[in-house]
Symmetry: C2
Subunit: 333 residues, 2 copies
């Protein structure tokens, strides 16, 4: 079957993260489809993110969207994926071929989730984005290359992220419990409300596989206490300082870069946002803080549109942005 | 067989920790035996520390020591054990009976390893002891009760311990790698020497079950860099401040308490000891810093001697110090 008319500029855009795949399809010059979500995160195996499991989730979602769109050929696919840098070997090797066989895709871009978050927030402009949820990473570009800072995980960094804030809050609760300096009575009360008597807390945290998420679950309590508790406010101030340090490490030092914040952590609102704005203004006076325009899936869509239209100006470095051409069904090699 | 003469005042003393059991036997008024070590840590199961596995290790060691000592009846046993407060249910229920059946023991004291460390370091005197290895706990007494501070593990506290120092050192290395504030070039060089290229570090740390030990393995590098690197020196200064905070939370506020440091972390020497001495002098000017007289096994021996001689003045609270009388073979109930 020959490719349907216009299929050369049709595209798939995918965001693959901890809560599963989200997918849209579209064509250049037209609005994208509604997004579909799998709700199940892609398994990782010995070769990292499991390309087979990825395709198992993707294929039925794309078929459903294709029926809606009246189109079954997609020339371009952009996948923004968590863990791509460290766990992406399987995806990089297997996904382009699988997408070509299944959908006739001829150009595939695998981008780190930090890159799709960046483009979703700022578009294709120089600047820096701080992406914060349970973890924290900063990414920046001058449009000739990418820089990243932090994102090392809860034991080595992710300074200022959700697990970092929650951990600091629990430490302050336990300091109050012990009668050590630096304790917070309000955080102690919150910790007992959330976790029960504190001597039981280690037993509720250490055996769990999702320790960073358990720590991050306490972060909203820190924000809740901050207006009246100087210890909680100090934790958020320190988090804000760490975010500004990471943003400063990746932001272009010349020109008029933009800076944006993205990710679930910023739903905390003013107790975190006010100090973050102040620390960014101190640390990056030449940068303009703007609201994030969209999320990582919006970023994948933008990259896909530009790639499909042949106008992508995003720096590709093989790791953060990995673009490959493949022999699709429509090509007669 | 009736008890051998003098067996009523014979004792066993045991230190049970991460590297296994260490055991000595003795009699009041005489030097103790050489210590024997099992080299294998006692398993934990659904009921905490496994009393059966504990006895499996203990029995042959005590028999070997008894042959040397020419004595097979022990009226008193003192067990200092890591994790007793949280994982000691099985030991508390099964060990006294097992020791009575096997050795004719009539009085058993189960003491937290922090208590045996305290008594080993300071004897039975009011004061505070900071015990630091991979983790960190402070314990203090006015001889009417016990206070403890920290010891919450590497995600919730253990502030200033080996994992804490190593983690802070690796964070400083990664800050330098990223170009963030607070980085240390010398620590970056040490981290690359120890762990290879740093993008691989998360993969070498997070999948391991012994993450705190991996973090603590970097602590000696921080001490090594401290004389010439202000970032490394700052980490050890902060560790010293945390130790003084924990000591202050447990030390009697009146009288002339003594303070001692014990545990493997202090083998770091001056780069850590100099700031610790300064911070303790600031925080606890009424206390006298003394050298630890002995280790946790020495503490278990001291408690056993006093208990066997009927002169133990250590506060018993059922948790930190749990003393029980049992019906041994020598009693005809």
């Amino acid at each position: 079957m020959p490719p349907a008319q216009g299929a050369g500029v049709g595209f798939l855009a995918v965001d693959s993260g901890g809560s599963g795949l989200r997918v849209v399809v579209g064509e250049v010059g037209r609005p994208v489809s509604v997004p579909l979500a799998s709700g199940e995160s892609v398994r990782t195996g010995p070769r990292g993110i499991d390309a087979g499991h990825f395709m198992e989730q993707l294929v039925p979602m794309v078929r459903a969207l294709a029926d809606e769109a009246g189109c079954a050929e997609w020339g371009t696919a952009v996948i923004g994926a968590t863990g791509l840098a460290t766990l992406g070997d399987g995806l990089r090797e297997e996904l382009p071929g699988a997408l070509a066989r299944e959908f006739g895709v001829r150009t595939v871009a695998l981008v780190a989730d930090a890159v799709s978050a960046y483009v979703g927030a700022l578009g294709i402009r120089p600047g820096a984005v701080v992406a914060a949820g349970t973890g924290l990473i900063a990414i920046g570009t001058d449009l000739t290359g990418w820089r990243r800072a932090d994102g090392w995980g809860h034991l080595l960094g992710d300074c200022g992220g959700g697990a970092w804030i929650g951990r600091a809050g629990l430490e302050a609760a336990l300091r109050a419990y012990d009668g050590r300096d630096g304790g917070s009575g309000p955080l102690l009360a919150c910790a007992e409300e959330q976790f029960g008597p504190l001597p039981g807390l280690p037993g509720k945290l250490y055996p769990r596989p999702d320790r960073p998420a358990v720590l991050a679950s306490f972060a909203p309590r820190v924000a809740q206490c901050a207006p009246d508790d100087p210890v909680a406010a100090g934790i958020l101030r320190a988090a804000a300082r760490h975010m500004a340090e990471s943003a400063a490490a990746v932001c272009p030092t010349t020109g008029e870069p933009r800076v944006a914040l993205t990710g679930g952590l910023f739903r905390m609102g003013d107790p975190l946002l006010v100090p973050v704005r102040e620390e960014l203004a101190k640390r990056l006076p030449h940068a303009q803080l703007v609201a994030a325009a969209g999320d990582p899936l919006d970023g994948a869509v933008r990259i896909a549109r530009d790639l499909a239209a042949g106008v992508l100006t995003l720096p590709a470095d093989g790791v953060m942005v990995h673009v490959v051409g493949v022999a699709g069904r429509g090509d007669h090699f």
